[in-house]
Structures are given as C-alpha cells and as structure tokens.
C-alpha cells in the first residue's frame, strides 16, 4: 500500500501550478473571511439596520437608540473586536481575493458567473462606503457616544447633500446584496446546501431576505430626508429611564426600557 507521504508537487514548465497539497494557511484565512462575513459583520449589519429603523419614530427615539448602544458594557472593546477589526479583515482579504480572480463573464455569461462578479463589485462599493461612513459619522464631527441626542441631526446634515444621499442609497443596496448573496455562498461553500435543489431553494430565501433588508434600509434613509422630521434640532434631550411628565407623543416614543 502507498505510504502516507505527500511528495512535493513537481514544478510544471508553465501555466497554472499543481495543488500544494497540505501546505500553507490559505484554507484557514479564506474560511475565516467567509465566517466573519456572517458573524459578526452580518449580525452587526442586522443590528445596525434595525437600529436605523428607530429613525422612523423621530429624533428622540433615534437618539435613545444611540444612547442605548453606547451604554453597552465595554462598548469601545465591543466595537473594535466585533465591528472594526472584522470589517477591515473581511474588506482587505476580500480585495486580495478579487485581485487573484480572472473574471470571464464576457465569454461565459451564466447567472452564477454574473453573481461572482457582482459579489466583488458590491463588496468594494460596500468597503469604500463603510470606510468613509465610519470616519465621517463615527470619528469626525459631532461626538455621538457622548452626545447621542445629536445623532439624528448629524445624519440628516449628511443626507441633505444629494451626492451623499445617492452614495447612501447605492451603498445600502450594495451592502444588502453582498450580505444576502454572501449568506447563500456561505451555505454552499460550507457544505450546508450541498445539493442543487437545496441551493436553488435557499437562493430564493436569500433573495427575499435581501429585498426585505434593502427595503428596511431605504425606509430608514427616508426617515432623514422625508418631510416628517425636516430641520431636526441639532441636539435633543435623551432620557432612557422614563419619559418626563407632560412630554409630547414624540417624546414618549423615545422611552426605552434600558437600565
């Protein structure tokens, strides 16, 4: 019987080189990239879009949500370990993956091949958007962690610029697309949907999920640019313990059961 030794792959005189059997770290790095896209990045995206939905209830509710998130224990550690570092890794490694692929959708215009290309484009759009979004909304301008009441106005100012509004709408669609198809890819590559029929069915599930997510996201953008909360005050008082007596219905909306 053959031995368990793996002889080194012989070097071919040109073209694509053979498998480097059992060598290197790329399997772990690639699967980590895949996993991070679902947890924590995808999970955070869901949280973010749900939180954004509070904007539909007005500046008070939105500010209260920002205050709640910033009141989480070890929030600065949480945001670096579960948001910033995973996104940086996923984004940078994703660009590396893209650069090593050779798209041929011109010659083979199949649906899967288009989605392969779309996953790369939506990924780079999302990454570029997220970098500017984190810089401008998290680290520059009004200091929201300490002044959550300024959150609504800060976003509203940003979206009052039609170019930024277009950027946000395009990025929202790209991010939701990337996440929805990313879930499908995750299930396919990790052997969860290993049958053709299962992948087809799950494709519809992911499509529906992506559409719902996009509608959710665009609805919360509407909260900032629609007529309902035009010219929101620069800062609104936030109480997350109880609504002061005699408060307006708007104020009541900001009531959160947060200790």
């Amino acid at each position: 019987m053959a031995t368990a030794q793996n002889p080194a792959a012989p070097k071919l005189r040109g073209g694509v080189q053979p498998l480097r059997a059992g060598q290197g770290m790329s399997f772990v790095l690639r699967r980590l990239h895949s996993l991070l896209g679902i947890v924590p990045i995808g999970a955070f995206l869901l949280e973010h879009l749900l939180s954004n939905f509070e904007a539909l209830k007005g500046p008070m509710a939105y500010g209260a949500q920002v205050k709640f998130l910033n009141s989480l224990p070890l929030v600065r550690v949480l945001e670096w370990t579960f948001i910033f570092i995973p996104i940086l890794y996923h984004g940078i490694y994703g660009v590396y993956i893209w650069l090593r692929g050779r798209s041929n959708v011109v010659y083979y215009p199949y649906a899967g091949n288009w989605l392969y290309v779309a996953q790369r484009w939506t990924g780079i759009i999302a990454f570029a958007y997220i970098v500017q979004h984190v810089l401008r909304q998290r680290f520059l301008g009004a200091d929201l962690p300490n002044n959550p009441g300024m959150a609504f106005a800060k976003v509203q100012h940003e979206l009052s610029n039609p170019i930024m509004l277009a950027v946000y709408v395009i990025a929202m669609i790209a991010v939701c697309w990337h996440f929805a198809y990313g879930i499908w890819l995750f299930a396919a590559k990790w052997g969860i949907t290993s049958g053709e029929t299962a992948r087809k069915r799950f494709g519809w599930v992911c499509l529906a999920f992506g559409v719902v997510l996009t509608v959710f996201g665009l609805a919360s953008i509407w909260a900032f640019v629609g007529p309902q909360y035009q010219n929101a005050p620069e800062n609104v008082p936030i109480s997350n313990l109880m609504a002061p007596s005699g408060s307006s219905p708007l104020y009541l909306n900001s009531f959160r059961q947060v200790s």
Binding site: F27, I192, E196
Partner: protein, 249 residues
C-alpha cells in the same frame, strides 16, 4: 446542396513562443459533421480558404465520441469537446482556439499535465496493489452507486478548469475535476483509506477554498458531473477534517 460550405477560423501557433496567427479554411458541408471530423479533414488537406498551402494543423483527439477527453478546445469562444460539437449547431465562421489556461504545445494542442499532477496530489485512486490476492472488495450499495457513477464519468478534459475564473496563475486553484474525484474516491469503501490524506491535501494552498462558486464548471461540463455539489460536500469534509486535526493536536 452541392456547393454548401462550412467556414473555420483556426488560431495557429507553430510553437509556444511563435506569434499566433489566424487561418481560414473552408470545407464542403456534409450531413452530421462535427468539429473534430472537420479538424481531421483540414489536417489531411492543409490548404487555406484563399488556396494557399499551409502546415497541417495540430490538435489532440482520440476516441471521437466524448469519452477520452482529449479534444477540448475553445469553439466560438467557449471551452467544449470538439467531437460533440456539431457544425450545424454552430455560428459560422466557426472560430477554433486552443484552451487558454494551459501551456501551448502547438496550434490547438495544449499540455494539461496539471490535472494529472493534481490527481496524484490527492491520491485519486483505490489502493489495491499487493503481492497476494486481497479477496473480493466490500459491497457498494446501489444508493451509493447512484452518487458515485456520475462522478466516475469524468474524462479529464479540463473544461471545468478552463472556464473557472479562480483557476489561474495567481491562485493555483486545483479545479473542480480533482475535487469531484476526491468525493468519488472518499466514497469508495476501499478508497476511503486515504480519506483524511485527500482532505488534508485539499486544504493546502490552491485547494477547495479557492472556489468562488461562479459555477461555470457545471455549466460547461460535457459529462454533466454535479461538480458544485462535490465542491460543497468536499468543502465541508475538509473543514471538519481541519477542525479535528486542530483539536486532536
């Protein structure tokens, strides 16, 4: 029908370093002609459409019935088997080019050794060599046979690798065919003795993780092998193997 002709444009290259040129050939139409029978005719009578004598074209072929995997080439831009490409179904002039991702030998002939090396790297065989009679092999149930038979149809034509956006110099991706063979031999009751080694091999650089799931492989596979199913199954098995190895060490 007497004067009906078929036009071919063939990409020629005398050697790997020579410049590529296109030559046009015209053949008299015959019923049921396919690309490989046309290549034979052109090689036997190497005269271009404008009446100039040229060198006979070089190409790989053997069985002429889509079972040996030799005659894969790009026909009107798409990788496929020349033997099963009926001329009547193709747009003319029919453009013939060699596969683009393998080192060129001459004209339409390319060196596909990389697949052989990959199959060796994952031990894509059943180890039954011995100096004495090993007796009958274990029984394979019909349900398992149903899964294995399509995988065993692989003809090593390399079409799945040619059309894969991830199969290139940068990734050194192993390609769908080899991954499907890992599934086949891991399913075999005797072949599975190498299961762990095959999975560990496929976790190496250029292994199953490089798949980007563009799914071109299943679209073009002339034998209709469920390659994406195999990639999914083997991807899971490799991951489990890596996790076991990590926890046991």
């Amino acid at each position: 029908m007497a004067n009906k002709t078929v036009a071919f444009e063939i990409k020629r290259q005398a050697n790997p370093d020579a410049p590529a040129i296109w030559e046009r050939f015209e053949l008299e139409w015959r019923p049921g002609m396919n690309v490989i029978s046309s290549m034979m005719e052109i090689a036997a009578n190497p005269v271009t459409a404008d009446g100039r004598a040229t060198t006979p074209i070089t190409y790989d072929s053997n069985c002429l019935e889509e079972i040996c995997g030799s005659c894969a080439m790009r026909i009107n831009g798409k990788a496929r088997m020349a033997c099963s490409s009926l001329v009547d179904n193709l747009e003319q002039p029919i453009k013939i080019e060699p596969l683009s991702k393998f080192p060129l030998v001459r004209d339409l002939s390319v060196d596909r050794s990389v697949l052989f090396e990959n199959l060796k790297a994952v031990k894509a065989w059943v180890p039954v060599d011995g100096t004495y009679d090993l007796g009958p092999g274990p029984r394979v149930f019909p349900q398992q046979q149903e899964v294995n038979y399509p995988l065993s149809n692989c003809i090593s034509c390399c079409c799945c690798m040619e059309v894969c956006p991830q199969f290139n110099d940068a990734t050194g991706f192993v390609g769908a065919a080899t991954i499907a063979q890992v599934k086949l031999f891991n399913n075999h009751p005797t072949g599975k003795v190498f299961k762990e080694e095959r999975l560990r091999a496929l976790a190496g650089d250029g292994g199953v993780q490089e798949c980007g799931y563009a799914q071109n492989c299943v679209e073009v596979c002339p034998k209709g092998i469920p390659l994406t199913d195999a990639i999914s199954d083997v991807g899971r098995d490799v991951l489990i193997q890596k996790a076991k190895d990590f926890l046991r060490n």
